[in-house]
Symmetry: C2
């Protein structure tokens, strides 16, 4: 039987899971591929720890001793990249920097396939990597880079190919979803929920990218390239996180039968794609409102088949690793016939501020007569239809109230707010909070 | 560019949808395949009607005139099967009989790929067809045979290949789900809900296979072969339908925070697979309880990734057709590298009467003292733990009450019922209704 040999760079949470699956069910996976899938080498700076933690024989790890130096690790990496008997390398070191980009490019330039979970690298430096793959006629598997265990990449590339995808929306960051779920269900404030997420291991020591929408943004950029063929840079996509969501916002959401979720959103209208990452008020009728804790979920609407929903684990060791191993199987089966199937239609990216969402605008104002009239008049003058004005909370000298609009653009809302400020400079005690509603 | 030529046999709801997609987005699909996907011929006995209904140019249809005779159609079918310039034939005639089996075998024996939505044929006569494909090294695509637009077949064959599937459960028959939803939400009885389903076009004129579980059984048999490599005959699988579900059962379900759903269930425990199709009380916490109307949903639990959920349209013209076109794309891309990837592990099928479900048993008895004691004692003697005894409905001279058990086998329950009958032959006014609970 043909041999197909694998090396792994970086044996942490995800790499360790890959090593574990490749050793535990080697025969099943080999039978699925019609060739022997052999784990050959692992390069990891703490081989003893990783070997014990993920129950992977020490013999797979390069180097002697409990730990190896970075210099040694780099030498082993170069040795593996140069080795003629390795067919595919799994990169699970992580990070988006010159060092990792060079490793990934070297893997492809050496004539090996690359499988990676590195969403930051693909989102920020993907075009160089995709080009290296195309030039060398090698494959990049990146199923694990978007939504962990959910096979969203293959579902789009290989399964929904008898159709045209019109929109993709979803919950793609488990940490922020866990925090928002705690705020909704246990009335925690943001800081306490974040602390709990860190204690439980759902949030990193530095949770910045999870809570500011950066991680979700990485995933949406990868999907935009895959589904619509659009190369987007991080600073071109409007991204906001959940760090400013308060218990009051959660309360407003409940009032309108919604839950606040950090949503990745991309919708095609004719030749334009509107996209954004931001917290949205998700109506209870939308199944995304039921996705709580660290679970991820994606809603795909296509022209002929209508709605597809996928739900699964967004992170975790063997969970994410199962997606990497599935990439290995797919490449072992089909590499010679695979092409770089990004969409190739002529299609434009449009900032989602031009997309017509219904919005919730929350105003914090002086508690004095005439303000509702002032605000609603200004909103109406911008041709924004108001759906409801609700929930006046009176707190000492201030009032908080929210307006639910009919679909309009963010530009219209910004103009309305500017008019309110111009008319009465002290009426707004803070910047109004503007959150789209997802039906 | 390479040409890949398609013919369609049978241009009804599904075949018409395929013809429509293949003509409407020919360029997109061809770009995805890296070759020109050309619809060449359609054999249909009512070409004029189909051409107009599905907006497909008349020139694709074999024969002149508004309708063609069966003899003519058979001749055209044989001509297309013999044609050297056709690469793949879509069979959307339907039915499970010698005639269709021969057509499908002839397609494969002529060296062409076959794509079909024919679940009855694959479930009842699949092994002959699978063998013909293997012998000729040709592919059978059957994505559309299970759950319409949901890409469940490719998800299992191609996406979840880095894992071991432990269980598959789901709602795979839209008609029965529509009927049950109406019974739950609008308090309709079974007969009225069925009539409404027929009026709305969700149920066929002869709805037997939808309501007796036969259609769902076909789908589960196909999945059992795919996931676990088990060749199962219809009479080996325990199948019951929804025809005996009453408003009282719906009421009991509501009381225990559940909804009744027709569930396809297969679960692996070590080397055994337990499988059944029957109505179950699905707990509100289980997302399957939220799947209403004609939608389908599948819950896959795997060893490494945990839970995967897929939801989508279970039927419909372009919905089901999108799955067929996706098969065409996959075959055009990969046929030369595709193998017949059914699971090959040594695994046993076990009747689900040996599986330990929690059950709801509903008794209709004489309304007289001592019966609860008699029944619960008999149940306890069979080592069945009782969870709750609930809801005594007293109707003239009879009482209806239900027992929720802790997990036990159907054998234990049958034994308990036999003991009750033996002790007091007139106490049970009808056969007790036994429904598993799905958590």
């Amino acid at each position: 039987m043909k041999q197909f040999n694998i090396a792994i760079f970086g044996c942490g949470t995800v790499g360790g899971g890959v090593a574990r699956i490749l050793t535990e069910i080697k025969d099943t996976i080999s039978q699925r591929c019609g060739c022997n899938i052999n784990l050959k080498k692992i390069v990891e700076i703490e081989p003893k720890f990783a070997s014990e933690k993920y129950n992977v024989p020490r013999e797979f790890f390069c180097g002697d001793g409990d730990i190896i130096s970075r210099e040694e690790a780099n030498k082993f990496i170069q040795d593996v990249i140069s080795a003629s008997d390795i067919d595919l390398i799994v990169e699970t070191i992580g990070g988006s920097n010159d060092f990792i980009e060079k490793i990934c490019a070297d893997i492809l330039n050496s004539g090996k396939h690359l499988v990676t979970a590195n969403k930051a690298l693909l989102a920020e430096r993907g075009s160089a990597i995709y080009k290296a793959a195309e030039k060398n006629n090698k494959i990049i598997g990146f199923e694990a880079a978007v939504c962990g265990a959910i096979p969203i990449i293959k579902t789009i590339k290989e399964n929904l190919t008898g159709d045209q995808i019109l929109s993709v929306s979803g919950i793609m960051n488990g940490t922020s979803n866990y925090i928002l779920s705690k705020m909704h269900d246990e009335n925690m404030d943001f800081a306490s929920a974040l602390m709990l997420a860190q204690e439980k291991g759902y949030a990193e020591a530095d949770p910045t990218l999870d809570i500011n929408g950066g991680d979700a943004g990485h995933k949406l950029i990868i999907l935009m390239k895959l589904v619509f063929g659009i190369d987007l840079k991080m600073d071109e996509l409007s991204i906001s996180g959940i760090q400013d969501i308060t218990i009051d916002d959660i309360e407003f959401a409940r009032e309108i039968n919604s839950r606040i979720k950090l949503i990745c959103f991309a919708q095609r209208i004719d030749g334009d794609i509107y996209a954004t990452v931001c917290p949205m008020m998700v109506k209870n009728d939308n199944f995304l409102s039921d996705i709580n804790g660290a679970t991820n979920a994606v809603n795909i609407i296509s022209k002929y088949a209508g709605k597809h929903i996928l739900v699964g684990a967004g992170a975790g060791s063997t969970e994410t690793a199962s997606s990497i191993v599935a990439d290995i199987v797919f490449i072992a089966r089909y590499a010679e016939k695979m092409e770089h199937h990004f969409a190739k239609e002529k299609i434009n990216f449009v900032d989602a501020r031009h997309f017509k969402f219904a919005y919730i605008i929350t105003f914090e104002t002086e508690d004095e007569p005439g303000i509702t009239g002032l605000v609603t008049t200004a909103v109406g003058e911008q041709k924004i239809n108001i759906d409801t004005v609700s929930h006046n909370m009176h707190k000492s000298h201030k009032a908080i109230f929210s307006i639910a609009t009919m679909p309009c653009t963010l530009e219209q809302i910004d103009n309305a707010i500017a008019v309110i400020r111009a008319k009465n400079s002290h009426v707004l005690l803070s910047e109004p909070k503007v959150i789209p509603i997802l039906y």
